[in-house]
């Protein structure tokens, strides 16, 4: 399957969601009194048509999809660490999670344990100082109070 075909099928799915949701649950209203579903419905229809054009175009073209990057450990680690950061931030507090986050990612491509740990510690503490103490951003505290 070519990558244009995959993406336009996805487009079709999104189009279906918005137009059906707009048509059924939000109500179109009338032309002189357009309802909340009117504009999303039109948008969904337009996206559907465009996706169909793109599907037709993709049938002529042959290219195979390469998503080798998705499988690479760097991609998984970076996206995984970012998501984990968000999920754990309010549980274990800003400084702790920031330290772990920086440590993990610095280790990914950079020097040994000690240098990474030291840089992560400096990074975590100084970003706490910068954002929380100086810029007064409210950052969540962990069980240890920071």
């Amino acid at each position: 399957m070519s990558k244009d075909l995959i993406s336009s099928l996805l487009g079709l799915a999104v189009a279906a969601f918005f137009s059906i949701e707009g048509f059924i649950s939000l109500k179109l209203g009338t032309l002189s009194q357009p309802g909340p579903g009117f504009f999303p419905f039109l948008g969904g229809v337009a996206l559907g048509l465009l996706s169909l054009i793109q599907i037709l175009k993709s049938l002529k073209k042959k290219d195979s999809l390469s998503l080798s990057g998705l499988k690479s450990s760097k991609f998984l680690l970076a996206t995984g660490a970012t998501l984990a950061y968000l999920l754990l931030l309010e549980k274990i507090g800003f400084v702790t999670i920031t330290f772990l986050f920086l440590f993990l990612l610095l280790r990914l491509e950079y020097k040994g344990w000690l240098v990474s740990a030291a840089s992560a510690l400096v990074g975590a503490v100084s970003s706490y100082a910068l954002f929380s103490l100086w810029l007064k951003t409210q950052l969540p505290a962990g069980p240890f109070g920071f």
Binding site: S8, P36, L47, G123
Partner: protein, 505 residues
């Protein structure tokens, strides 16, 4: 005379010490963003937007605007010294700028790009000063149908200038419009497409979406690229001033670059990247020795560097006069104005003259600051370039995380950012662009409101968009732009993009 009074008022606003300070911070961070590869102006401005919630709107906008045109200055430094564009609009500068550095002429190359940027930026602001108020007056007579048609035209121009096929760009624009409809419907007050998720009740946040599409996904893409070591040229500390011969060769290219760049900057979607490439192509065509381009001719640095600055200035025209953003950065500035309770567009001049004239005046001052800031600080910027990406990227991600959290002190926006980060990565892999999505998302709610008001106005007849002359003109132009590519293909646009390397956006 109105204009001079306005400008004078603008200077009074800008010259207040706090505003001067914010302007300085803005252009300083902008230069930094321009220098550092991997963090572009849209992500950087989105990142800093939450920190401006508590300052007066004028100061906030002055700072955020400064980041944008400051980045245009900074981007050239890395292009010349490192052959790595810190910013997409400086890609073309690499060709002759780096060649000049290899010949030991890094000084004049850096000098002419700073002076060229200054001249173009200043000339651009002068045109902006005179054009914006009169355009705003014209726009005052626009009703909902005119606005709707104008936004249709804007989105069409945007997709016309797209790198990939127009169909794909249109798909992204429509997806953006649909994303814009998430949240409360402004007319009926109903929740739409929130999927029961609290963070979506207020709609998809512009800041997390942009940080995801332009910040997170950029990091993910960069991680995949081979980290090749580049030779950094020892930055010159003296001899930054171009000599008389350099000036003789550069004057006309700077002026041509300014005119072309400004014009392209006004158009949605064309922006600074196309402007710099187009002006390079023009210089090559008019030159007596086109074969020497790429080997270190100073015209090849002067023209594109002027063009990208002029384009950055020109992009403010549609924002200030019509309330329609021409690129992703203007979309955030529009969001910033609205967060501060201001309505960008023709009424801005009346409702908030301090903001309107403040932005314009701040650009005069900002350009002077940048000239003074850039030349002596070049050695420091060059040093920063030695920081390897392996150290840089965890901090870019961290800043995005903190930025997204600080919007509402909740992780909801962070999750939105994460999703759009992965989405942006996939879009790149599937050859889709993020800019049409962001722009359409911002104007989506305005467009919907204009459409529904028009239909209420006309009692349900869609002919209202065609019977009012100005509106009909916009629609007709848009239709022409749709039909044209079918007949002739978008030769000029395709050619302009051909020379832009894939990874540079």
């Amino acid at each position: 005379m109105e204009i001079f009074q306005g400008l004078l008022y603008g200077f009074q606003v800008v010259l207040q010490p706090t505003n001067l300070l914010y302007g300085f911070i803005g252009v300083f961070i902008g230069t930094l963003v321009g220098v550092l590869p991997g963090l572009g102006p849209p992500a950087a401005i989105a990142l800093l937007l939450p920190s401006t919630f508590s300052v007066p709107p004028v100061s906030a906008i002055i700072m955020l605007a400064g980041i944008y045109y400051g980045a245009m200055y900074g981007g050239s430094t890395t292009s010349i010294l490192l052959n790595v564009p810190g910013e997409a609009a400086s890609v073309v500068t690499c060709m002759d700028g780096h060649a000049m550095a290899c010949q030991g002429r890094a000084g004049p190359a850096l000098g002419i790009s700073a002076f060229g940027s200054f001249i173009a930026g200043t000339l651009g602001v002068i045109v902006l000063t005179f054009l914006a108020p009169s355009l705003a007056k014209v726009a005052l007579s626009f009703g909902p149908p005119e606005y709707f048609s104008l936004m249709v035209l804007g989105l069409t121009i945007l997709t016309y200038f797209a790198r990939e096929s127009m169909v794909k760009a249109l798909m992204m624009a429509v997806v953006g419009l649909l994303c814009g409809s998430v949240g409360v419907d402004s007319i009926s007050g109903r929740y739409r497409f929130t999927l029961g998720v609290p963070v979506l009740m207020d709609g998809l946040g512009l800041v997390p979406v942009i940080m995801g599409l332009f910040g997170i996904s950029e990091v993910l893409l960069n991680l995949e690229r081979k980290g090749e070591k580049q030779e950094i040229f020892a930055p010159p500390t003296k001899g930054l001033f171009p000599n008389r011969e350099d000036w003789r060769l550069s004057t006309l290219p700077i002026l041509r670059g300014t005119v072309l760049g400004f014009f392209l900057g006004v158009l949605p979607g064309a922006g600074t990247i196309i402007a710099s490439f187009a002006s390079y192509a023009v210089e090559k065509r008019v030159s007596k020795y086109p074969e020497r381009f790429g080997t270190g001719v100073i015209e090849g640095v002067a023209a594109p560097e002027s063009a990208n600055n002029a384009a950055a200035t020109g992009a403010f025209i549609p924002l200030l006069t019509l309330g329609i953003p021409a690129n992703a950065v203007m979309a955030i500035l529009l969001g910033a104005l609205m967060i501060h309770g201001l309505q960008p567009g023709p009424l801005l001049l009346k409702q908030a003259p301090d903001v309107f004239w403040g932005i314009i005046a701040s650009m005069y001052i900002g350009n002077v600051m940048l000239l003074v800031l850039n030349l002596p600080l070049i050695p420091i910027w060059a040093r920063l370039l030695r920081v390897p990406y392996a150290i840089l990227f965890p901090f870019i991600l961290l800043f995005c995380l903190i930025g997204s959290y600080s919007i509402n002190n909740s992780v909801g926006d962070g999750i939105v950012m994460w999703i759009f980060g992965v989405l942006g990565y996939l879009m790149k892999k599937f050859d889709y662009e993020g800019a049409p999505l962001v722009l359409a998302m911002v104007i989506g709610p305005m467009m919907e409101e204009a459409m529904r008001q028009s239909l209420i106005l006309s009692a349900g007849s869609a002919t209202i968009f065609f019977t009012r002359p100005i509106s009909a003109g916009f629609i007709l132009t848009a239709a022409l732009l749709f039909v044209l590519p079918l007949l002739t293909r978008r030769k000029g646009v395709e050619k302009a993009w051909e020379s832009v390397p894939e990874e540079s956006e």
